[in-house]
Structures are given as C-alpha cells and as structure tokens.
C-alpha cells in the first residue's frame, strides 16, 4: 500500500533513521512532587524540596503520569509491563540531584509499532517515563555554556514528566520521519497525554541517523542529532546530515559516532563537545521508588477508553473506498471532519458522495459550522442521494444549515427549492427546449455552443427554483435519452 517513493540522500544511498521523541505529559503536577506542571510561569516559582533535589527529599510517583504512559503504550500497540526506575548519573547544573530518574532496562512500554499514513509500519522499541531537567540560560558569550559569562537556572521544568518514545531504526527518509512525528503527535494529543506543541518544547525530537548503500543490510556508524524542535528542522537536519555522511564515505573519510546539534540559522549540523560522549551514566535501580506494576484491570479499562485513531479511520475507509486518494483520505479523517463522514457512512449515503461533500463543502464550512450537526449533514446528503436535490442546491443548503437551526425540510422550503428533484428539473428543461426546436436539433447534432442559449432560456423561466448545474445535468440527460431513442 506504500504509495510514496523513498528519497535517499544521494543516488544509490539510503537513510537509516530512528527517532527519540520526548513529550511532556500534561499532568496536573510534576512527576515526583506536588508542584504544578505549568508552562510559562515566573522562573523558580513552581518548585519545592523534591524537584530542587534538596538533601533529604524523596520522589513519589505521580499516578496520572503512569496512566498517560499506559494510554500511549496502548495506542502504540506496546506491551505494558511492570517497570523499574533507574538513576542516570552525571553532573550537570540543570539537574538538581546530579542524576536523572529515568527508566533503563525495563521501561513501562516495550515493543510497539506505529502505522503511518503511507502504510509503512515503524517499530517502537520503548516508551518510558523520566523526569525533565531544569532550564539553563547562558548569558554572554553567544549563549553557549563554554563561553558564557554566567548562567541562570530555572528549575520550574525540573521534574516535569516526560515520556521518551524510541522508534526502531525503521525510518527510511526525512519525509517519513516527519510523517512519523506528525502521526505520533496526533496520537499523543488524542489520548490527552500531550498538548503536542513543539514550539513550546512539549515535544522534542532527537534523531539517530546513518546512511548506507542501497542493498546493504548492516547498520553503519550513526550520529545523534539533538533537540530538533520543529518538523521543518527535523527534515532539514536529516537531509543535511544524510548528504554530509554520504560525502564523508565517498571521500573515504572516517565516520565518527557522535552527537551533533542542528544550527537552524546556518542550516548545518555541528558536533557537540566530544566530552559528552565519554559519559558513563552508572545506571542502577532507583532505591527510593518501588517498581511500577500497572494493574491489568486498569490497563484493560484504559484500552476500552482509547479514542479512535487515524489508523483506524484509514482502515475503515479502505474497506468502503479502496481507491480513495491519500489527499482526500487525510482530509476527511481529521477529528473535525470524521464524525460527519462516519455518520454519513453509517446512514448508507453513497460513500464517494459522502467523501466529496466532506472534503469539498464541509471542510470549507468548519469555521462557521454552527447548527450543522452530523445528523443534519446526513439529512441533506440523503436528499441528494435520493435525487431530490441537485449538487449546487446541496451546497447552498449546507451553508444555510450552518447558519439557521430550522429543520432541514423547512430550510428547503425557505430556500424555495420546491422543484428540486432531478425528474422535476428534467421536466422543466424538457418544457423549455420543446419551444426551441431548432436550437434543440443543433444541440442534439453535437453543437455544444447552443447549450448556453438553451440553459439561459431555462433559467430565465424558472429563476432560482433550480440551479444552473442541475439544469445542465438535466439537459445532458435529455439529450442522451433523445439520442438513444433515435438510434
């Protein structure tokens, strides 16, 4: 079903990409304390002994964070398991305890997958809970820690719950990486775990990328690009890095395993200090936190509460309209559109018509949707399906149904769509052309230019009772019938 061509970094080369997406969970409080999990507060106001890591303080697990992790795990088809927290030890001033409480060899979610709109299936190795660090602001010296005159630390973010979702190296090009993040984001938002705002840092992406000649199956040395904070940065950084790596191989130079950053302004990746590579994090089980063992009953309850995901909608559409184009499909499966389409399909409206009305009319009306409920939408489409209204009448009626809460039949009457079914329109057109025998003969003989004259006569006589396009349809049909009779 994959409909996209994979674009390599250069002819004969392909990307191997794995993504680590860190998402801030939308819990009321931080991961291990009662401080509000808020964004944009005054620096160092949402803090306490625990998230400041003061001597003697202890972490206590936030049950809501576990709950969100379970929902995400279920949405990613992962195994939810009894999990353990570990300490990741390293010294850094934004980390109040000089260790981060994270999950290591037994994450809460393991072995899931995510299906992309293209049909590609990307493996999810793990999705684990961890605490965020504080935020460093370096003043002077270009804002980098090495050269700054001094640095300020805001610990409001310290202890904010993060879920780190690690994909398998299954992603094959930057476009697919973008698609993966977008799809993942929609899931995180759908289960209520994240607000999905990349620009506020509530979704941050690290990319592991390597390249290899097409056909090679082994992985080559990979580079980690840190902190890609928009989809645009993600694709640009991956494209740059792919080209850079191919160039290195082609020039016969050594590829170093390293961590790089994306310089948005200069559109290049650059190496971070090598020192950071030498870290031995000395992981060991966090003695202050018992393992988190989700209750199977809770897991089942959360499973039954899961919202419907885009992949489910795609599958439903594939059943009724297997040939539907990707663009149309992605347009109609959005949260805004889908309830209308689902209602229409449930009411046995012709599927291609339902999709067309959603993609063309409904999408344009979403901002002023007002009184147009899914059931009223279905009522209008049924009139069209039964041939009682023409296409252009339907468009007018849908807009009117947004603005005016009157019942649909009354709206039809109000708009004067009295002679609205296709047979009635045909009768009107037949009556008019009967009085224009000469022009009608020329039209039947194939002179399309006369159509305008004939339709003009129809419209002059029946005004807004019928639409031009309905009249044109009726004219075409009359002509077909006449030709069929004469042959």
């Amino acid at each position: 079903m994959s409909s996209r061509t994979i674009a390599g970094p250069a002819r004969g080369w392909e990307y191997v990409i794995g993504l680590e997406v860190h998402t801030e969970l939308r819990t009321a409080t931080k991961l291990f304390c009662g401080c509000p999990n808020a964004f944009g507060e005054e620096p160092n106001t949402s803090i306490c002994p625990v998230c400041l890591g003061l001597p003697g303080s202890l972490p206590v697990m936030n049950a809501q964070a576990v709950d969100f992790a379970i929902r995400v795990g279920l949405a990613l088809n992962a195994t939810i398991q009894r999990s353990q927290f570990h300490r990741k030890n390293y010294f850094y001033p934004d980390m109040p305890k000089d260790f981060q409480i994270s999950q290591y060899d037994v994450p809460i979610n393991a072995n899931g997958h995510l299906e992309l709109p293209s049909g590609a299936v990307i493996g999810i190795e793990r999705a684990h809970l961890e605490e965020d660090t504080g935020k460093l602001v370096h003043r002077g010296g270009g804002g980098r820690i090495e050269s700054a005159e001094y640095s300020l630390i805001d610990y409001n973010r310290s202890g904010v719950p993060l879920l780190e979702i690690v994909s398998a190296p299954d992603i094959r090009d930057p476009e697919e990486a973008k698609e993966y993040v977008a799809e993942l984001r929609s899931i995180l938002v759908a289960v209520g775990a994240s607000d999905g705002r990349m620009e506020e840092g509530s979704l941050r992406v690290d990319a592991n990328v390597s390249v290899r000649p097409v056909g090679e199956t082994q992985m080559r040395t990979r580079v980690e690009i840190k902190n890609l904070n928009s989809l645009r940065s993600l694709t640009r950084a991956l494209e740059f890095e792919g080209r850079r790596q191919v160039q290195l191989y082609e020039d016969g130079e050594a590829m170093l395993q390293q961590t790089r950053f994306w310089d948005e302004a200069r559109a290049v990746t650059g190496a971070l200090r090598l020192k950071e590579e030498a870290n031995d994090y000395r992981y060991f089980p966090e003695p202050d936190l018992p393992p988190v063992a989700p209750d199977p009953l809770v897991i089942e309850a959360r499973r039954s509460e899961l919202p419907e995901f885009l992949s489910t909608r795609r599958a439903q559409l594939a059943d009724v309209l297997p040939e539907l184009s990707r663009d149309l499909r992605e347009t109609v499966i959005t949260d805004e559109c889908w309830p209308y389409l689902r209602a229409a399909l449930d009411a046995n409206i012709t599927p291609h018509r339902a999709v067309a009305r959603c993609a063309n009319e409904l999408v344009a009306l979403l901002d002023e949707i007002g009184a147009l409920s899914p059931s009223r939408f279905v009522e209008v489409l049924a009139l069209e399906d039964e041939g009682k209204l023409g296409a252009s009448q339907v468009k007018v009626l849908l807009r009117e149904a947004c603005l005016d809460p009157l019942a649909i039949p009354e709206l039809v009457a109000k708009l004067g769509f009295t002679a609205s079914d296709a047979d009635a329109v045909k009768a009107m057109v037949a009556e008019v052309v009967a009085s224009c025998t000469q022009e009608w003969s020329r039209y039947l003989a194939g002179d399309e230019k006369v159509a305008g004259f004939l339709l003009g006569q129809v419209m002059r006589r029946y005004g807004r009772q019928i639409s031009g396009s309905d009249a044109r349809q009726a004219l075409t049909r009359l002509a077909e019938e006449a030709r069929a009779e004469s042959s």
């Binding site: 002994p49 400041l52 890591g53 003061l54 001597p55 003697g56 303080s57 202890l58 972490p59 206590v60 697990m61 300490r87 030890n89 010294f91 001033p93 109040p96 305890k97 000089d98 260790f99 820690i145 090495e146 640095s151 630390i153 031995d280 000395r282 992981y283 060991f284 003695p287 202050d288 936190l289 018992p290």
Partner: protein, 478 residues
Amino acid sequence: MNDEILDWGIRELQRRLESAEVSAVEVLEAYQEQIAIQEPEVDAFLSLDLEAARRRASYQDERRARGERLGRLAGVPVVLKDNLCTINFPTTAASKILDGWVPPYNATVVDRLDEEDAIVLGKTNLDEFAMGSSTENSAFKITRNPHDLDRVPGGSSGGSAAAVASRMALAGLGSDTGGSIRQPAALTGIVGLKPTYGRVSRYGLLAFASSLDQIGPLAASVEDTALVAECIMGHDPRDATSLQEAPPQLLGSLSQGVQGIRIGVVTNLIEAANPEVQAGVEAAIQALARAGAIVEEVALKELAYGLAAYYVVAPAEASSNLARYDGVRYGLREPGVTVEEMMIATRTKGFGPEVKRRIMLGTYALSAGYYDAFYVTAQRVRTFVREAFARAYVSFDLLIAPTSPTTAFRIGERSNDPVEMYRSDVCTIPSNLSGDPAISVPAGVDADGLPIGVQLLGPALSEQVLFRAAFVIEEGLH
C-alpha cells in the same frame, strides 16, 4: 531536685508534669544544667538552642495550665542527629560542604516529634554523612564516650548516643545504615532500635544509602525507646518506600514476657566477639531462658558475607546520593573558572577523606565493566542474607547476637585502618541488608567498666516481640 529529674524516664516525667509536681521549664532547666556540665567534655552537639527550648517549655506550661491536653512527649528533651532536616537548626551531616545550611523544611520524624510536643534541644554530631562507626569522621568535632572520655561513643549516631548516655537528653533520634544506631547505643550503654525498613519515613533524612537507611530512637530504657518509636513510626505519603502498616503498639505489650518464644543464638556472630562481650551476651541469654524463652544455637554463615556486600551497595548508592552537593544550589561553593572546575573544587574541599573514599568505591562499583562483578554480585549476596534470615525465622521468633564485637575503642585507635573499622559492623549490617528490625540493649560492662550491648534481631514487622524480649533482658540484668 535536678538530679532527681534526670533520673525520670519519659512516663515518670509525664506523670509528674500532669500532676503539676514539676513544670516543663524546671525540667528544661535541669537538663540545661546537665548540658553545662557534660557538653564541654562530651562534645555531642553540633547546634544547640536552649533559649528556643525554654520558650517551648514555657509555652507548654501555659497550655497545660489552660487545661490543654499535650502530646505523648510533652516536656521531653530530645536531640536529633544532624542529618535530619530541621527548619529551626542548621543541618550539616557533619560536613563542611553543608556548613550552615538551614533546610526550608522539617523531616517527617521532626514534625512527628513536634506534634507530640517533644522539646528539641539541638542537633548532634555524627560521622560525616553517617559514614563511620566512631563519630571521628565528623568535619567539626570529636564526640567522646561519657563512660571514658578517651574512647569513641561509636557511630555514626555517636552524638545522639553520647547525649542520651550523659543524660543531656531523654531520647535521641539517629539513623542506621549499617548499625549506626545500635552500635553507638551499645558502646554508650543505652538502648537503640533500627526499625523494619519502611516503618519510619525517611523524608528529610539526608540520604547515605537509601535502600539501607532507617531512622530510629535511642534512649536510656527499653520503655522510653518504645514510646519514641511509637511516635515516629507509621506511613508517610512523602516516602514511596514507607510501609502502609499501622504502627505497632509497643508500650502496651512491653511486659508480656517471652514465655515460649523461640530464640536462636547466632553462634558465628558470637564467635566474632571478644570474650567479655560474649559473656555479656551469655548473661542476656540466661535472662531470656529464665523468663521461659526456648533458646537454641544456630549458625548463619551467610551473614558474614553481608559485610562485603554492604561495602559495595552502600558506597554505590552514596556515590549517587552525594552527587547533588556540587556547589550550584546550596552549601559550600569554591570558585572555579568553569562550572566543572567549580564543582570539582567544591567537592574536593567540602568532603572529608572517608566520604571521598566511599564515593570513589561506589563510583567504581557502578562503572561500566565493573557493575556486574560488584553491584550485581553484591545484590545477589544481599538476597543470600535475606534467605538465610528467612530460613532461620522458620524455626525461631527472634535471634540474638552481640551488637558490636568489642566495647568502645580508643579515639584514633582505628582511624588509620578503614577495613578494621568496617569489620566492627559485622553483627549489625545483616539487618540493614535484609531490612529487618533489630534492637541493641545494654548487657553489663567489661573489666574497664565499658558498656556491652546485646542485639535482638527479628523478622520484618516484629518490633512488638523484639521489645518484649528487650524488656526481659533489661529487667533480668538489672
């Protein structure tokens, strides 16, 4: 009068306060006088605020005069090991790196003592970050054993033990990671309890080794120890390792005796002790047998491996727990051109040699390539120790052993031989590894008049039986 006041236990004191025979201020004054005499010699305190204590005592007298009902520790002068967070006193862990640091919050146990109207006199000396068995590793002072000022009071809760033993306070709180309550209690001739892991909230205890640390009481008598234990035990939502179980009723069952209680004498731990200590333990065993306990010998060889496992697990956890003392947020900060240089300079100057030694040991044990050989193996040994206890508790209700292989040693005697110092924890460490409770009770004195401690060990949550047996020993050896 003052001497008489110092003789009263907590319940005696409560009776006299309730009958208005004495006021809380008078009690405080008696202790104030005792501190004036003893503290210059013993050096138990790192901070002391007798003015605040007097204000509190005076306020309690007013409340009592108004007919208010006061808490179970009303008027009781207590001391706190200086690794428990207190709003009203600096909390230093006897380390230069925290010199002068005043926490913005109280440890849960401090709040609980406060709710029971205890009167906190001050904070007591300890081995820096509780790492040691003699209180000689304090960055600030050496505390002396009131029974012989040339000798150590034990450690790491040596300050609290010495303060109680010299009657400068009625009770003290300590912390016990490998024997740090029980061993100083033994060496100073008082009672010390290490509760079941999770019985007492660790919130506000400056962590040494989180999976081993437990706060507990020290007092002159079994009864006083039981009362303070009752006051500080119980679930705390701020400590995720805190047990849900309701705190046991200890006082009420204290005199129920040990008739039919099966007690195992741990022969290999007794063999590790010197003959005089062995004799003290034997006297305690006889007292229990006289009271109807069924006493049998048992060898638990696995406990001996506990020492090695402990000196991997405890430093490993400590290396991580002590990382936060980096000069960035509080405590000492030494200048440095870069953040990294500042951190290194601060930690180099702020930590003493024993703390550095353990951070190095622990960092090494957790390092890539060594983790399995050290940390994982130590955890396996820890499981052996737990299993050995579990097997023993099929046949026995309690176990009995020495608390320390020797009585108090001379100041400076072992400070150049850390391994010899570590060995003195051999009898106490197993209970920390298993998380089970244990109590040290005085069992006479040696030829030099130095106190001997006997240790009772029980399975998890067995504090009630432990105290009953401890009470029998106390009565029997009186």
